[in-house]
Symmetry: C2
Subunit: 411 residues, 2 copies
């Protein structure tokens, strides 16, 4: 079974919007074991969409076409599909009802144009999920099929996850179930993590019970994805649970979270569980740690605040760092302890270093001192990161949060 993706929209070709939908769909297809050999972007043009669909159907078993299902005159995907199917469009009464209801509940009358969204090619069926106004369509053509989904990412994702992938796997005669989870790690390189898992990878190569893939994701950590496939959901879940447990055991405290949970969410949750409040003293990272923590819903329960001590005098006067060089272990320690005192927090993180491009106080760019205070005890470490200013700052943020995470876990 292979499936192409056709993304519709002139704005994609003009570079006004980057087509992230095709990438996301490609990832879902790969996870489901469905081959995707080609992805195409085409503008809002009848003939070119029709040709793109015909060519794609000709060489592949299925096509997912994304976008062009809106209510305006240049949203022509459903019309073009009807032409490719060789059938007329008919108004779907249920969709009309639904649209009238949606507009009514917002106290607005429905523009006439929106009725276009209720048109369905004869022989096509609607996708059950319909989070927005645009219905998705399953359009059989001979033994092949076109799926039409909206270009709005969350609407598209709900339909692809809820209907399209399952339908493709059913058509592939693939009655098995695929499950996957992602372990997020920090503190070790990709090759280091791969080496820790080498026995496990060999074992899985032999048994085929599950697969493991790596994905370096910057400030989001190094992701390890475990995928299991089995005849039933229960069986797949069981294999996955066992394999995830095994991998998590091997990687031990390099694993900081599972799936979508970020490092800052983990740290906030650990602080909440332990009833501890956090203060920050940031020089190198310039407020980025605070900013990321404050981005977590409910951060206010544990986050007292921070001092961005960019100028040396702010370190001395606000945080009480002894006058002298400020890119040192001693300065980082004094900053963390000053943060606890000034902000009235139980624990603290402090960062000082050189983001680059130049050196500072004779210290090379990319060098940072990261300190954490927990239970009155301050620990400090020196790290050196490659990369540009932004990359150095981001690596410092996740590394400093990871230091605190490890110390909180040890409490």
């Amino acid at each position: 079974m292979n499936c192409e993706v056709v993304a519709v929209g002139t704005e994609l070709l003009l570079g006004q919007i980057v087509d992230t939908n095709s990438s996301w769909i490609g990832e879902q297809l790969a996870l489901a074991g469905i081959d995707c050999y080609l992805q195409t972007k085409v503008g809002d043009n009848w003939d070119r969409i029709a040709t793109a669909l015909r060519v794609a159907l000709d060489r592949s078993d299925a096509v997912i076409v994304c976008g062009g299902l809106g209510p305006t005159q240049d949203d022509i995907t459903r019309d073009v599909i009807a032409e490719v199917m060789g059938v007329p469009l008919e108004e779907d009464e249920e969709v009309v009802e639904r649209l009238l209801e949606m507009f009514g509940s917002r106290g607005r009358s429905m523009p006439r144009n929106n009725l276009r969204q209720a048109l369905v090619p004869v022989g096509a069926t609607r996708i059950a999920q319909q989070p927005g106004t645009a219905p998705g369509l399953v359009c059989p053509i001979g033994d092949k099929v076109i799926f039409a989904v909206p270009g709005v990412p969350y609407e598209m994702q709900e339909m692809v996850t809820g209907t399209v992938i399952g339908e493709l796997r059913r058509r592939a005669g693939d009655t098995g179930v695929i499950r996957s989870r992602t372990l997020r790690t920090w503190g070790h390189s990709e090759s280091g993590i791969a080496e820790m898992l080498s026995d496990r990878l060999e074992e899985l190569d032999r048994t085929g019970a599950a697969t493991i893939a790596f994905l370096a994701s910057g400030i989001e950590g190094l992701k390890v994805r475990v995928t299991a496939k089995a005849a039933t959901a229960a069986e797949a879940d069981a294999i996955l649970a066992a394999e995830v447990a095994e991998v998590a055991h091997i990687l031990a405290d390099y694993v900081f979270s599972t799936d979508d949970e970020t490092m800052e969410q983990v740290v906030i949750e650990l602080l909440r569980e332990r009833g501890l409040s956090l203060g920050l003293a940031e020089s190198l990272t310039g407020g980025m740690i605070s900013s990321r923590l404050a981005g977590v819903e409910g951060a206010s329960g544990v986050l007292r605040g921070g001092v961005v001590s960019y100028a040396s005098e702010v370190k001395f006067e606000v945080l009480g760092v002894p006058e002298g060089p400020v890119v040192t272990e001693e300065a980082a320690i004094a900053m963390a302890e000053g943060a606890c005192r000034v902000l009235g927090s139980h624990v603290a993180i402090a960062t000082t270093g050189v983001a680059g491009p130049g050196s500072l106080e004779g210290v090379a760019p990319g060098t940072a001192f990261l300190a954490t205070t927990v239970g009155g005890v301050t620990e400090v470490g020196m790290v050196r990161f490659p990369g540009d200013r932004e990359r150095v700052r981001q690596f410092c943020v996740i590394t400093a949060l990871d230091h605190l995470r490890r110390r909180l876990l040890a409490l």
Copy 2:
């Protein structure tokens, strides 16, 4: 003249990397007046790349193929192009020399594999720009042409700007010169800006001297792009300069910068010119203003630092805000004045508000009070932003910086 884009790389289809290269190339083509009707992603597979190139050449005048020029065995773009051209590959001595030099200057010996990068299809010419190890290629096929460029964005961009676009326009018989500049604005909606420019837009529609396009870019501002085309560079530059001056005059102080300059760079430059230092007191924005300012090279000359006063007690105890409600004009004013005092800065920005999703102190999510202190005088404004937590925070950051910008300009 129309030109397709083919992006090569299995990782693009699997969704491990989002294909931003095609979007960028599409934008450059549109700016140069070259039509781009289709963009395709294909994996590292010989037959499928060959078919994609043949199909694209069949229906278009030119093809830009991006990626697959690296030194490893799965980088096969140049081999496939040679097959499509019906010619053998030959080693380009100059490229070999260059590669040996590049490795030599880094004190490394060159892996044998890298010699693959010196292979050029007979009849193709090298693109002059070569910022990395991979040479780009201009490959004529009959009266059509394939351009091969690397997948590394900065290498690709240098070649497309330096050679590909010019060559396409030459082939199109388009001897004119296109120039464009972008004015970044803040403080008015897209429709508001369009209305201010409506007479100008009508005039340009009539004369065709230049075109104007709008692009909402979130925290980067609302961009207004002016494009001029003329027979010579001098003429195009003159038209562009006049039109940009006209548009800038109409939009007046909504314009905060030109081209790539960000709001935070503008603010830092204004502070530097005036010899003023800046301090921040951030609650709602949680350190994001500091973080963005600290991301600018040379920020340390003017940025004293900040207090992230997330908890109310930090506002009271560190910044000296009077005890009471903290999502008010009064609190914002006291925070800004506290920042000047505590951080020893000449000017300050303060933010307090409700990021959401819930209300706080009876204030609706999306509401923010933004204060600025300049020359001992504090001004405060209330704003209300739509959107989720992250969007509200980002809008506050650029709006607060814009408030300060306007006050510094008035000094």
